[in-house]
C-alpha cells in the first residue's frame, strides 16, 4: 500500500514538475493579455503538454529502473549460485581432506612411536653393554684373583727361586773351580815327586855302574850288579811312565781349570745379566700392567660417562609421549571438524553460518591443546618431580 502511495506520489511529482513552468507561463500570459478564451486554452494546452512530458519521462524512468533492477537481480542470483557452489566445494574439500590428514597424522604418530621404541630399545642394549664393560673394568681393577699387583708379586715370587737355583749352581761351579785349583796344586807336588824319582833313578844307575866296576875288580858280584842295573832300568821305566802321566794330568787339569775359569766368568756375567733382565722384565711388566690398569680405568670412566649420556637420551626420548598426545589431539580435531560439517550438511538449505559455532570450536581446540602443550619440555625441578602422598 505504502509502495503504491509512493508510486502515485512519484508519478504525480514526475508529471507535475515539467507542467509547473508551462502553467506558470500560462498564468503569466493570462495575466499579461487578460483572461481571454484564447490565452486560457493556450495555457491549458501548455499545461497538458507539460503533464504529458512529465508522464512520458516518468514512464521512461520507471522502465529504466525496472531494467536495472532485473539486471541486479540476475547478478545477485549469479553471485549466490557462485557462493553456494563455492561453499559446497569447500565442504567437499574439507570432508575429503580431513580423513586423509587425520590418517596421515595417525600414521606419522605410529611410525614415530615405533621408531622411538626401536631407538629406545637399542639405547637400552647399549646401556647394558656399557654396564658389562664397567663391571669387567671393575673386576680388572679390583678383582681378587686378577689384581695386577698380585700378578707382579706372584711373578717375582716365582722367579726368585729360579734365581736362587742359578746362584747355587754358580756357587757349585766356583766350588768345582776351587777343587780344580787344589788339584792343580797337587799335580805340582806329583811333578816334584816325579823329579825326585828321576833323580833317584840316576843315583841307582850310578850305583849300578859303581857296583859293576867293583865287581870287575873283585869278581863274584855280577849278580848284584845285574840286579842293581835291572832295578835302575825299572825305576827309569817307572819314572818315564810317571812323568808322562803327570804331564798329561797336569795338562788336562790345566785345560779343565782354564775352561772352568772361563765358564765361571761367563756364569758370573750370565747370572748378573739374568738377574738384571728379570728385574727389567718385571719392571716393564709392572709398567705395562700399570698402563693397562690406567687404560682400564679410563675405559671404565668413559663407559660410565657414555652410559650416563645415553640414560639422559632415554629421558629426552620421553618427548614422544607428548608428541603422541598432541598428534592425537590433531587427529581428534580433524575428525570433529568432519563430523560437524556432515551434521550441518544434513540440514540442507536450512544451514547457516551460525551452525558452525566457530568461536566455540576454536576455544575447545585451544583448551585441549593447552592441556597438552603447556607441560614442560624439560624435566621439572626435583621438588616437583616426585611427591609422596
Amino acid at each position: 500500500m505504502r509502495h503504491g502511495q509512493n508510486n502515485i506520489d512519484t508519478q504525480f511529482l514526475y508529471g507535475s514538475l515539467p507542467a509547473l513552468p508551462v502553467i506558470l507561463i500560462g498564468i503569466i500570459m493570462v495575466w499579461q493579455s487578460g483572461a481571454t478564451l484564447y490565452s486560457v486554452v493556450i495555457s491549458l494546452l501548455l499545461a497538458l503538454c507539460g503533464i504529458g512530458s512529465g508522464l512520458f519521462l516518468w514512464y521512461r524512468h520507471v522502465n529504466q529502473l525496472t531494467q536495472i533492477n532485473s539486471r541486479w537481480e540476475q547478478d545477485e542470483i549469479g553471485k549466490i549460485d557462485t557462493v553456494a557452489a563455492y561453499t559446497t566445494e569447500l565442504e567437499r574439500l574439507l570432508l575429503t581432506i580431513s580423513p586423509i590428514l587425520s590418517q596421515h597424522v595417525m600414521v606419522s604418530r605410529e611410525h614415530t612411536e615405533q621408531e622411538i621404541i626401536s631407538l629406545t630399545s637399542r639405547f637400552a642394549d647399549m646401556v647394558g653393554e656399557l654396564q658389562l664393560i664397567v663391571d669387567s673394568a671393575d673386576n680388572t681393577l679390583d678383582g681378587q684373583h686378577y689384581h695386577l699387583d698380585n700378578v707382579i708379586t706372584t711373578s717375582r715370587e716365582l722367579l726368585q727361586p729360579v734365581l736362587e737355583v742359578l746362584k747355587q749352581a754358580h756357587k757349585a761351579d766356583h766350588d768345582v773351580l776351587g777343587e780344580l785349583q787344589k788339584l792343580s796344586g797337587h799335580m805340582s807336588g806329583l811333578n816334584a815327586m816325579s823329579t825326585e824319582i828321576h833323580n833317584l833313578t840316576g843315583r841307582i844307575n850310578r850305583l849300578a855302574l859303581s857296583a859293576a866296576n867293583e865287581a870287575s875288580l873283585a869278581g863274584g858280584f855280577e849278580v848284584v850288579e845285574n840286579d842293581a842295573r835291572k832295578l835302575a832300568d825299572d825305576f827309569l821305566h817307572i819314572d818315564q811312565r810317571l812323568g808322562s802321566q803327570v804331564n798329561d794330568t797336569i795338562a788336562a787339569v790345566t785345560a779343565a781349570l782354564k775352561i772352568a775359569e772361563n765358564a765361571a766368568q761367563v756364569d758370573d756375567s750370565t747370572l748378573f745379566q739374568a738377574e738384571a733382565n728379570i728385574e727389567q722384565t718385571l719392571s716393564h711388566l709392572s709398567l705395562a700392567l700399570a698402563h693397562y690398569r690406567d687404560n682400564a680405568g679410563t675405559l671404565r670412566n668413559n663407559a660410565e660417562q657414555i652410559r650416563g649420556e645415553i640414560n639422559n637420551v632415554l629421558v629426552a626420548l620421553q618427548f614422544q609421549d607428548r608428541v603422541s598426545q598432541i598428534l592425537m589431539q590433531v587427529e581428534n580435531n580433524l575428525l570433529n571438524l568432519q563430523k560437524t560439517i556432515e551434521k550441518i550438511q544434513e540440514q540442507g538449505s536450512n544451514r547457516d553460518g551460525n551452525m558452525l559455532r566457530v568461536d566455540e570450536a576454536v576455544e575447545h581446540i585451544e583448551e585441549n591443546y593447552k592441556s597438552v602443550s603447556s607441560r614442560p619440555d624439560h624435566a621439572p625441578d626435583s621438588s616437583d618431580e616426585l611427591t609422596f602422598f
Partner: protein
C-alpha cells in the same frame, strides 16, 4: 625372587622406558595399555606395585586407581602416578583415589626407582 611391577600407560614408548628402568633395577614388569586392560591383567597375579599414567583412553588413571582400591586382593597395592599432568586438582584427585606418590614426566629413572624402592610391597 624378583618383585613384580605393573606399568599402565597408553604410550608404548613410555611403557618401554619405564620397563627398562625397572628391569635394570631387578624388577619384573607387566605392561597394560589402559586402566581396563590393567584390571584384566591383574587377575590374581601377585603385584608388588603399580605405576600408572593418568590420561589414557577407555579408562583413565584416576578411575583405574579407584577400581583397584575396590579389589580385595589389590587394595593395599601401592600405586605411583606417572604423568605429564601438573595441576593440583589432578594431584588431589589421585591422592583421594588412593595413589601413594606422584612422579612427573619426563622422569629421571633414579627418581622413579627411589619412589618404587620406598613403596614396593615386601
Amino acid at each position: 625372587m624378583a618383585k613384580t611391577i605393573m606399568i599402565v600407560d597408553d604410550s608404548a614408548s613410555m611403557r618401554q622406558v619405564v620397563g627398562i628402568a625397572l628391569k635394570g633395577a631387578g624388577y619384573e614388569v607387566i605392561e597394560a595399555s589402559d586402566g581396563k586392560d590393567a584390571l584384566g591383567k591383574l587377575n590374581g597375579v601377585k603385584i608388588h606395585l603399580i605405576v600408572s599414567d593418568i590420561n589414557m583412553p577407555v579408562m583413565d588413571g584416576i578411575a583405574f586407581v579407584k577400581a583397584v582400591k575396590q579389589l580385595d586382593n589389590y587394595k593395599f597395592t601401592p600405586i605411583i602416578m606417572l604423568t605429564t599432568e601438573m595441576e593440583e586438582d589432578k594431584k588431589r584427585a589421585a591422592k583421594e583415589a588412593g595413589a601413594k606418590a606422584w612422579v612427573t614426566k619426563p622422569f629421571q629413572p633414579p627418581i622413579l626407582l627411589a619412589a618404587v624402592a620406598k613403596l614396593v610391597l615386601p
